[in-house]
Amino acid sequence: MTSYDAGSIVVLEALDAVRMRPAMYVGSTGAAGVMQLVIEVLQNALDEALAGKASNIRVTVDAEGTWTVEDDGRGMPLDMHVSGRPIPEVLVSELHAGGKFKEGAYKLPGGLHGVGLTCVNALSSHFVLEVRRDGQVWSGRWALGRRIESFRRVGTTGVTGTRVTFLPDPTIFGGERADPQAVERWLRSQCWLTAGLACTLTRPGGTVQFSSDEGLAGFVRWLGGPHELVHPEPIVTGSSGEPQVDAALLWTRAFAEELVCFVNHVHTPLGGAHADGFRAAVGHALTRYARETRLLDPGEPLDGSDAMEGLVAVLSVRMRDPHFEGQTKTRLLDTVAGRAVEDAVGSALAAWLRGHPVEAAAIVGRAIEASRARTASRRASERARYERVEHLVDKEIYRQQFGIRSKNWHTSADWITNAGLLGLHGGSSKMSEDSVILDVCCGSGVVGASFKGKVGRVIGLDLTPEMVALARTRLDEVILGDVYEIPFADNTFDGVCNREVLHLLPQPERPLSEIFRVIKPGGQFVVGQWVPFSAVDGPWMFQIVKKKQPLFVNNLYDEDMRELLSGAGFVDVTTEEFLQWEDIDNWIATWETPPLHRHQIKDLYVHAPEEVRAVHPFEISPSGAIRDCWRWVIYSAFKPA
């Protein structure tokens, strides 16, 4: 029997507590956690810039993953703490010690408030702090939070500033690295948010510098850069007071919205009260304008999510004592900020729309277009259901969707052109070099092309004229046709290949029997399909994929695939597995996924049950970007000889 008395109570030293439960402090022990360490150090440098005391932040990362962050601010105070130690030493080795708890030193600080630098020290195998202040240079060195060299005076200087160098502890983070591109994006963002700030990032392969006097307008122009714009100039709104609200808005022809929110310069990827207030402001302003100007038919609805479609926006709120969900500040809780944003952005946007009738008509027209497309998409989905009752498939829906998606097919998801995944398809071939194979539902033909050099001739078959045109650039011959009625005689091909289509086809037994029919006796069928990792993540994946792709009808598990293949008559089934990381934000930025569903898909990741997280790997970065690990299985099966 275990006893629960004073002897069983362990009081951990502050840094031991951080090392024992690192994810509690920095959110993760993966790449996202390393990124959080970098952000914490950067945030301290930024706070000096926001206080008007620094104008340069220099960041370096070397090939081993050691980061150095240097600012030209005041440098940490070099006075002695009441404990008898220099203040900087206390700041990096005691939790909740910092200048941000008292008003005065920093008006609106970011970071983890006294936890950040201490956490970085505790979770680094190598940590050096160097302070330049009052003509002196002081330096100290730590490892795993333990002092190696005491913080002491090491020289003189004519400049001021703080430099932190650290290597995230590989025993905690398993050698995971922070993504330099994410750091670049953070620095770039802060230069737009902070007038007069210049940043430099040096990494193996080069140095990039950022500075801008364009403010938030420059920020949204950069975010909207890749897209066709609905109006040329960003709408910029600002309000002084408490909270202070600044925003810039630019509507594009893209499908997804991109709202980037900050509170006291801290990115809040999961939004919160300020983001909710922003959406309310945009939705109400556009709806009111559309009704006033009769751009919207009487009684026709316009959802807030339609108003947000294609919108690229940056929202910056500055406020005292904000409250966040979680230590890593991903979501703002203060409803007062939401109301301030709704008022400030709503009134400014309404005034701008009235003053710019041509641009306003284009913006509101964009929202109405989104609303009508959403309604049409829902109707199409309903029609598909009725058709299916009669065991028919409405081919027009497939043609419409994949015709539109053909415009950016190869960049719309990583899995489509992933070389490793394609290599496993072609690599499964057991056919002779003079074989003729059919790539059914061939899309752009990349799967069929993966067999080139291994077989003699690859013929493609697809329902969508646009895809047929794409595939003709890769395959020997491509025919417009339907997998439910393959336009070839029995026993025509030495093999058939296919990937990620069976889950979109009602009654997949029918296309499989067609595939079986056109393969010669002894011929091979190679089919790739992502499947859930287990029974536990299946319903969760179903919801994600169904919201992304309304044509999704079969949540196929590995067992289902084997059953389908053997049911169709195939034998000698063998498999190879491939884990592929998909950029979910990119994957859901498509025509067929309405804005509401994009939000709900992200929610499904953010609030994924623990049981699911235990079996299905995925990552959410501090910036909110989601990467999901998909389990692909490539099945090879044969028609009996």
Partner: protein, 153 residues
């Protein structure tokens, strides 16, 4: 049962709740509040996304109330039976046994629903039921394994 004459004046001993209309109505109320709690919190998130924060707040508060109410009905049902399976419940051992029985039975029910949906031409709904059937089965096994571990000396 104690003779009525021994009860304090003006009080009656309550009849057994099980198998009464009141029990059925309590179960219905539990179901309604549970469903309403899920709907309200789901609709609150939609309201947030659609830019209706006031509506979202109201719906979240309603969801909290429904969840509390559902637990209130469940508390009273402890006198009778667990509403998903009709088994006795109240302590962890009985609760887990009841849920394990629910998962076993519901895995089969979901499979049957999957077949119905497929026969009626709803491939996606059929697949949803089939996915849930697998999950129910896994959950049943998980709880059964826990119960076995607990029962081992």
């Amino acid at each position: 049962m104690r003779p009525a004459s021994t009860l304090p004046a003006g009080r009656h001993e309550q009849p057994a709740l099980k198998e009464t209309l009141t029990c059925e109505q309590l179960e219905a109320t539990f179901r309604d509040d549970s469903m309403a709690a899920t709907e309200c919190s789901y609709f609150a998130r939609i309201a947030e996304i659609e830019g209706e924060p006031e509506m979202a707040r109201a719906l979240r508060e309603l969801a909290e109330q429904h969840a509390i109410n559902a637990r209130g009905s469940l508390d009273l049902l402890m006198r009778a039976r667990e509403p998903l399976t009709g088994r006795p419940f109240g302590n962890t051992h009985a609760n887990v046994s009841a849920l394990a029985a629910f998962y076993r039975g519901d895995a089969e029910a979901q499979q049957a629903r999957s077949r119905t949906a497929r026969n009626e031409g709803f491939s996606d709904i059929s697949s949803w039921f089939a996915s849930l059937a697998r999950l129910r089965h896994a959950h049943g096994e998980r709880l059964a394994a826990l119960s076995t571990t607990r029962d081992e000396p």
